[in-house]
Symmetry: C2
Subunit: 279 residues, 2 copies
């Protein structure tokens, strides 16, 4: 099939590589508001051609939207008005705002909201990598509202590129994403700012930065153009998790202030429970 | 030379592997309060024999202390009383308490306080790995107080196993370690507890955990036997950094509460500056 990918950055570009490797697309068309990105995506072999959105839709079976979630809200009505029997899917990190925007659309059944749980701290076509989605989860939201053939096409695509599918309604997705993705980015941004604040007066501080530090701050390199709209759309869930996280940090502070090392040990032992979840 | 390694866990075991690979030790003796660890270290080939501390010291040129920093404080006087012209070094994560304990000791010159900036979230002899220290920094503290030959032996050892040496006085080390290592562990422990708290009511939450989440919580698997004494010994620095980190998180919370997305973007752009520091 011919696939249009709108947004040829980290997510769209990596999907293009996977689709090609698995021979799921015989022709890939790029659409992007940045001509530099389109040219780069051509030179990297991510896409076969680029053209206007309306032209691209005409030539395609599947339309993939892989742009920041605020741009998504502007693009989606235009796309839904332009399609006939196309299948449309997004790859965005928030789902309730999107779900509300698409509900009642006469073409609702053609759209499959998805969120592949993969990403890196890098962005742009150069950030696209091979094998990105293998053994990762992808959330398909409100599956019952998609036409059977549209859902089947999207399921098949994600399974062929190595993902396992998790079904959720949009509000549950946004809550869970706040816990296992969005808060990690805020803690990482805040940790980077904590240490950069200190660096102003002491530029030797990074001479001894280790892998543990790098692990906890690497997400702080993530692109604000992508993340501000996510935090905006998922504001209430993110605020709830952030409040809980600050409360948890204050427990550690209180232990240190009061020199309560018994409770400090209990807090750490409880945190060790995370090894049930991650390898 | 014959080397005694006290504490045949993650750090001591990994050092044993490196010493052997670089042919820096022809015989390695293990000392550990856990006989199970010693047997495991033997079966893994980390050590050639194990025996009592006093016997081990008699047979050795170099004595390496790689135990939690609270045990270090108990062991060090005994070791310093037992040595003649031995070289003694530690591998601990805090230095000021240690420095105060050793100051004025008649054998002070034989002791070189060091902190290799490498570790993982795992512990015990099974956690020891090959190539652990390559291209990492090691801090040598208060180098002027060590005898020239002792310092030369330790420098040579670390350089041969691939480390670059950073010299610091103990208080500066502890401050910097709080910023680039200790706080990362607290944020990771607290993030794990934040999410585990939610899991109680919603066990599906981890179905969609991604690499970004794993990156920020992996340190939460770290051993409390090691970390509580570090936080205790470095309490004041860790409290300062933790207060700053909570203040930084509150800036993000305030942006979300007030829907100030302009300032939120600025905070993230500032955090992106961390890419000057880490690759």
């Amino acid at each position: 099939m011919t696939v249009t990918i709108i947004g040829v950055g980290l997510m769209g570009g990596s999907l293009a590589i996977s689709l090609r490797e698995k021979q799921l697309a015989k022709h890939i068309i790029g659409v992007d508001r940045s001509e530099a990105h389109l040219k780069k995506a051509m030179s990297l072999g991510l896409i076969d051609e680029y053209c206007s959105l309306s032209e691209a839709i005409k030539k395609s079976t599947l339309v993939v939207i892989a742009v920041p979630v605020d741009e998504m809200m502007l693009l989606l009505p235009e796309i839904m008005n332009s399609i006939t029997d196309h299948v449309v899917m997004d790859m965005g990190s928030t789902k309730e705002t999107l779900q509300n925007a698409i509900a009642g659309n006469p073409k609702r059944g053609r759209f499959v909201p998805t969120h592949p749980m993969w990403g890196t701290e890098y962005s742009g076509p150069e950030a696209a990598v091979s094998g990105a989605f293998i053994n990762k989860a992808v959330v398909i939201c409100n599956a019952a509202e998609a036409d059977n053939d549209a859902l089947a096409l999207v399921k098949n695509l994600y399974q062929k590129i190595g993902m396992h599918i998790v079904y959720m309604e949009a509000p549950a997705h946004d809550l869970h994403a706040a816990y296992v993705s969005h808060i990690s980015h805020i803690t990482s941004f805040a940790l980077a700012n904590t240490v950069l604040e200190k660096e102003k007066e002491d530029d030797a501080i990074f001479a001894i930065a280790s892998a543990g530090f790098e692990s906890t701050v690497r997400l702080a390199k993530s692109n604000p153009e992508m993340w501000v709209p996510i935090f905006k759309q998922n504001r209430e869930n993110v605020l709830d998790v952030l409040n809980e996280h600050i409360a948890q940090l204050k427990k550690f502070r209180s232990c240190l202030e009061k020199e309560n090392y018994i409770y400090l040990k209990e807090l750490i032992e409880h945190a060790n429970g995370i090894s049930r979840i991650i390898e």
